[in-house]
Symmetry: C2
Subunit: 366 residues, 2 copies
């Protein structure tokens, strides 16, 4: 027959085939899940032996192991993780605490984290603070229980006190910071070279003739912002350019207001001839404000953003970015956490890993 390649029919064929399959291989799943006890009774063994057989213990004969495994498969046995967690006092799960996820940095970081967690057979709980300190505290407080074995965190922009974190560490849970760290907490930190990359970005603008470089940021307390600000200031100083405090502008985390703030900045009498956005989400309002004020990029004003957006390549004009090693940072953070989880007495105190960012020079700052 000819029509079997036609999409709709092909689909229909697949479905009937599936249904036929099911008739021969009926669903054995029962609402009440199989437990070790059931397996034990069925095989006339003790629960202990079954438990050991399932974990492939050396003190169980090959034959019983096979019998157990066979029945387990047949009855679709899946161990109850909470019973085992309760007993073993470890949960095989880690928590990832993030300000938000609608940001390419954090998305990529999650990918990195999840990839190593899946490798290690760990589960990943995700918590979003939405940049709220109160939520962060509430979330962290929960971790004093045994819900997770370790925590990966990038703090909220409101966070300027770290008691909630030191408390969790004191309760015996390893904590690894990534990207947004608390400087005063002694634990592993996976960061990028914020100061240096900001210095490079600023210097690049200066070398391309900019004198009035504005720096736009979103949080006074975030250490990464301060380090980037420091790099910016140092670059200006090193090139004998006076720092103009009114060109260092705080935006809010709320996106809608930023357009107006930036527009106002661009209407100043000492109008900046360059902008450095230290956060991804400032990019869109910047481009829009420049367009609406008919300030051509890079002609009238040059722009550099800290962002991991792939679309930077196809913006109008292509955006010069400081790209953070997001995936690698996530991966490294998880790797370091697992080191602490697997090796006893492994100290995270001195672990600080710096993975450099990359300055991608494109049209917007040329």
């Amino acid at each position: 027959m000819m029509f079997i390649y036609e999409t709709v029919f092909a689909q229909k064929l697949t479905f009937t085939w599936l249904q036929a399959l099911k008739r021969f291989k009926p669903c054995h799943i029962n609402m009440s899940n199989t437990t070790i006890k059931i397996l034990a009774k069925e095989l006339n063994l003790s629960v202990a032996s079954v438990s050991k057989a399932l974990r492939d213990s050396h003190e169980i004969s090959k034959e019983t192991k096979e019998k157990v495994l066979a029945l387990a498969r047949k009855l679709n046995y899946v161990p109850n993780p909470y019973a085992s967690s309760l007993r073993k006092r470890k949960s095989k799960t880690i928590a990832v605490v993030l300000p938000e996820v609608a940001d390419s940095f954090f998305s990529l970081a999650i990918n990195g984290i999840e990839s190593v967690a899946q490798d290690k057979g760990y589960h990943v709980l995700i918590y979003l603070t939405h940049e709220s300190f109160a939520r962060e505290e509430a979330i962290l407080n929960e971790f004093k229980s045994g819900r997770v074995d370790g925590i990966l965190i990038s703090v909220s922009s409101e966070t300027n006190n770290s008691d909630h974190i030191t408390q969790v560490i004191a309760s015996g849970k390893p904590v690894v910071f990534f990207d947004r760290v608390c400087d005063d907490v002694e634990t592993a930190k996976i960061i990028t070279d914020d100061m240096e990359s900001s210095y490079k970005a600023t210097s690049h603008l200066i070398q391309n003739g900019c004198k009035n470089i504005a720096y736009i940021y979103t949080s006074r307390s975030l250490s990464i912002n301060n380090k980037r600000l420091e790099g910016y200031k140092k670059a200006l100083a090193d090139h004998d350019i006076t720092i103009q405090e009114d060109l260092i502008v705080l935006c809010d985390s709320n996106t809608t207001g930023n357009y107006d703030i930036i527009k106002k900045l661009l209407k100043k009498k000492n109008r900046p001839d360059a902008l450095i956005a230290c956060v991804e989400k400032l990019t869109t309002p910047i481009y829009l404000a420049c367009r609406d004020l008919k300030l051509s990029i890079p002609g009238k004003i040059k722009v550099i953003s800290f962002t991991n957006l792939q679309a930077a390549l196809i913006l109008s004009p292509a955006l010069t970015t400081v790209t953070q090693p997001a995936f690698e940072m996530g991966k490294m953070a998880a790797t370091v956490l697992f080191k602490a989880l697997e090796k006893k007495n492994y100290s995270l105190k001195k672990e600080t890993v710096i993975i450099p960012s990359v300055l991608n020079i494109r049209q917007s700052a040329t």
Copy 2:
């Protein structure tokens, strides 16, 4: 003194202040967490009474409740979730299974899901399939245990068999699909109007004079792709345009190859005068290929993408998009799941919610 406003010094002052604070409010946290037993012993009560007091049971006197709560706070008691899960046979956690997270749709959806989960006091486990069916199967299989109370899933692009999902449902766990569904599974589905929005997008191109409209997609088995394809075909048919099968191009999920595939498409003798990308990640290779082939958008070729990228506004030229209600879909999916979790005997079978997408017409298709 004048220097207290200088950043570095201000920071140092903060630190010593914090340290001073700690000296007065020392950390009471002990490595061995407080349990109900400890509280009971300390107060000369039974564990049962303490448990009830903590859950604010009516059968406990006001005074004992207060005593218990006071001590619990003092000793920083946090209940062990796994003990309670084991006993109550519910975990207060849900699973979110996604193909990936580096896509603005899924990022936004997670935000929606997490916001309602946090409201309900639930925890969110995240799992990425990386578009692999085998991983999806392995992940779903785990859910037959009590690890989660319910599942939210957007299937991988490889998924063309749904046994792993029906098995989980058969094991008693509610499952809600969002966006990428399995049509043959009878459970709640939160989707958007893929067919209609694709129809609208295609019609828009036709109305703007396009005759050779190419459709680019990434998976043959995904129902959303098929529905979008259907909308595309229907629009062509309704406008008496012949469907050219060689303008319907399958890309791979791997990003690097797509640039070449698109370039090849754009070099055909019947070169398309418009492209519809049914996946966000195809946008960048399309723009790059057009740029490199000196095909101006929208002059020589018009482009529409299915994407939630905010940066669509500032691309060169601004991108016409079909924007899915990502946040709302995530939120709705979670809401429906919690309905099933909270109400007994609530059937998900008939729950299908369609939230329409929006066609944002911009320069790239004008």
